[in-house]
């Protein structure tokens, strides 16, 4: 089924087209949700809510961009909204709160590298992880992140800096990260 047929079917509220759309994009979108969620169950809840919004707003889609990108935006915003509903998340965007994190890299499963990287991201505290996801992966600016998460732009920047440092540390320990020698010295110097 082509993308146009799927879109038209979804506009006509046809279950087959809706399922085709879901089957095509749900695995990747669940991967997105998984980076934001605490566990797989939460990620699936986010995915479900996100796709409900996709179907509800499908008539707003203009063929100017990729359908996947449009769906992804909705899914990311849904994830953020769900996280924001949780009080613990609001607390976790506080810098001081997140600085003293204990890493247990033994939790990282030894699977393919993409999964390893995602699992490493998931080891970060919620606040760090969210800012990192939004900035480095989704491509939002710090200003946008500030408005999305209701935090200062500067907070977003500092969160990201710390998140990145922490992630590098994890990636190095897992030997996923390949970096120049001087950079290694710099990282070890900061420690």
């Amino acid at each position: 089924m082509t993308e146009e047929m799927m879109l038209q079917g979804c506009l006509d509220n046809l279950a087959t087209a809706q399922e085709a759309l879901y089957n095509r994009f749900s695995p990747r979108m669940l991967g997105v949700c998984y980076r934001y969620a605490r566990n797989r169950e939460d990620a699936e809840d986010m995915l479900q809510e996100g796709f409900m919004k996709v179907y509800a707003q499908i008539h707003q889609f203009r063929n100017t961009g990729a359908l996947e990108g449009w769906i992804r935006k909705i899914i990311v915003h849904t994830c953020i909204n769900i996280l924001k509903k949780n009080k613990k998340f609001s607390d976790s965007v506080d810098l001081i709160h997140a600085s003293a994190v204990q890493l247990n890299e033994n939790n990282i499963p030894s699977m393919l590298q993409a999964k390893q990287v995602v699992e490493c991201i998931r080891l970060l505290p919620m606040g760090y992880r969210t800012v990192l996801n939004l900035y480095a992966i989704e491509g939002f600016s710090h200003k946008e992140i500030g408005s999305i998460l209701d935090i200062e732009e500067s907070t977003s920047r500092s969160q990201y800096t710390r998140a990145r440092g922490l992630l590098e540390e994890i990636l190095l320990k897992k030997r996923i990260l390949q970096k120049p020698r001087e950079s290694v010295r710099m990282v070890s110097g900061t420690k």
């Binding site: 809706q18 879901y22 990747r28 991967g31 998984y34 699936e44 993409a114 480095a136 990145r164």
Partner: protein
């Protein structure tokens, strides 16, 4: 694609890796979305559930409703007995009403009818009615004993102190017998005109009741407080004379013994006739096996979809699966229409399935090839993370069916007597699949995919069993092995592989 992180472009590297990552969501996510998008599709299953629930309630109600006895004809009948009895026989008593309730109802009714009566008599009437109403309600119970009957004989004393004739006694005895065996509508209003002595006289005369009684009633100016009518029918007697008639009552009792015995016999006979229908509630623990027919269609290496090959081996041979425990429970009606043959029907719910041994793999694409009605083949791709065979990440996939069935069939008595029988039974069971899940082997035989759309909603099964039926105390048991074979494939016809579930079980049924 294994690619090391490049620190010089951390964000891009992170994005590349994160974008490659995907997870296949469980089917419940789609079901949740689907149910939200199309809420109307819930109704068929809810409707079926409600129908099943009401069926069970109805069956239970029918099975637990007390049987009403019918009027009995005494062996020796005089002309007057017949006439009085015929009148009383039309009276109805509601059996479900409690004594207390009946008493209250009677009091209310009586209160509305005795306004024009002599005050002294009125008190007597009220007392008598109260006493009678409580006794009548006890009369109608099937377990009324002879002792109860002795007490009730007070009612029969229509005749004032005179030595009542035997025929009169018999007449009242007949009345009593009829009362006992007929439901009486207590709520029926007592009519004023029947408290009028003239009306009573006329009524009794019309019914050919002994003239002595009538004369006595009229001459003594006794209003006969206990003479009243239920639905225009004469029922009872004056209270003041009850004590004088105790001895006569003893005679009645003796005479009545034989009649009562006869009644009981007749009642038992009737019950036995109703016993042609038996309701069994049963449960059948089962173990499910599966049998495959048909052959999978596989793409040729050139991956030209128009060219197909038939796998030489059956797909079931490639699967590693374990039998699983299931359950079947429901109700069964057995109706004997001939000496050895019975018709059976009912409703039951069955759960059966099996486990596929699979191993979890990295999400990959797998395809199934289908064949439509015109014979053309087409494929459908799926993302799956279940591989065929055993591995380090072994996982058990559950294929199951939850069905609501209405079996219709025959039962044959192979051997036995009234208390112990060996039966052979066979039914055909149209089924509605309430819920199901199945993982299908992909066309290349390497993966399992899950597609609820392929599941058949309506199916047909055949059941065969041999049962031992025996009576224990008041219960009837039915125990024996049974085999259930799913005639139609679990999947729709477009899928070339046919799956047939076979349930082996022990049926344990119970009936009152």
């Amino acid at each position: 694609m294994e690619r090391r992180f490049d620190m010089t472009n951390f964000e891009q590297s992170l994005k590349d890796h994160a974008d490659q990552f995907f997870i296949v969501p469980s089917r419940k996510v789609w079901h949740g979305i689907y149910n939200d998008l199309h809420p109307g599709s819930k109704w068929p299953s809810m409707a079926m559930g409600l129908i099943f629930l009401f069926t069970l309630i109805g069956i239970g109600h029918l099975n637990n409703t007390p049987k009403q006895t019918v009027s009995l004809a005494p062996t020796e009948k005089t002309e007057s007995e017949v006439s009085v009895k015929n009148e009383v026989a039309s009276a109805k008593l509601t059996p479900g009403i409690t004594n207390e309730k009946k008493k209250n109802q009677t009091q209310v009714s009586a209160g509305s009818t005795v306004d024009n009566v002599n005050p002294n008599t009125r008190v007597a009437i009220e007392n008598s009615i109260n006493e009678l109403s409580s006794k009548h309600s006890s009369i109608v119970t099937e377990k009324a004993t002879v002792n109860n009957f002795k007490k009730e004989n007070k009612i029969k004393n229509v005749i004032s102190g005179n030595e009542s004739s035997y025929s009169g006694e018999r007449k009242m005895l007949s009345n009593n017998v009829s009362i006992e065996n007929n439901p009486v509508d207590v709520s029926g209003a007592f009519k004023k005109e029947f408290y009028n002595p003239d009306a009573v006289k006329n009524k009794m005369a019309a019914n050919n009741i002994n003239k002595d009684y009538t004369a006595s009633i009229i001459e003594n100016k006794i209003l006969l407080p206990e003479i009243f009518f239920f639905n225009n029918d004469l029922l009872a007697t004056p209270v003041p004379l009850i004590n004088n008639l105790k001895e006569q009552n003893e005679t009645f009792i003796k005479n009545n013994e034989s009649t009562k015995t006869q009644q009981n016999t007749t009642t038992r006979t009737r019950k036995k006739k109703n016993g042609k229908v038996n309701w069994f509630y049963y449960i059948t623990p089962t173990i499910t096996s599966v049998y495959f027919t048909g052959k999978a269609i596989q793409k040729t290496p050139s991956s030209n979809f128009s060219t197909i090959v038939i796998l030489p081996n059956q797909p079931g041979n490639n699967m590693i699966y374990n039998a699983r425990l299931g359950l079947e429970t429901g109700t069964e009606m057995v109706y004997s229409f001939a000496k050895l043959w019975s018709f059976t029907t009912g409703a039951h719910v069955s759960y059966s399935g099996y486990n596929i041994i699979s191993n979890q793999v990295h999400p990959t694409f797998a395809s199934l090839i289908f064949k439509n009605e015109s014979g053309a083949t087409y494929s459908k791709s799926y993302i799956t993370h279940y591989g065929n065979g055993q591995g380090q990440n072994q996982i058990s996939l559950k294929n199951y069916n939850l069905q609501l069935s209405v079996p219709v069939g025959l039962q044959y008595v192979l051997w036995g007597n009234k208390n112990l029988q060996i039966n052979l039974g066979s039914t055909i069971e149209p089924s509605f699949v309430l819920k199901s899940n199945a993982f299908l082997l992909s066309s290349d035989g390497r993966n399992y995919v899950n597609d609820p759309e392929l599941m058949r909603k309506i199916n047909v099964s055949g059941n065969f069993g041999s049962y031992v039926t025996f009576s224990s105390n008041k219960l009837k048991w039915k125990v024996g092995p049974s085999v259930r074979y799913q005639v139609l494939s679990t999947y729709k016809n477009i899928y070339p592989v046919k799956e047939h579930l076979i349930d082996y079980g022990i049926r344990i049924g119970i009936s009152k």
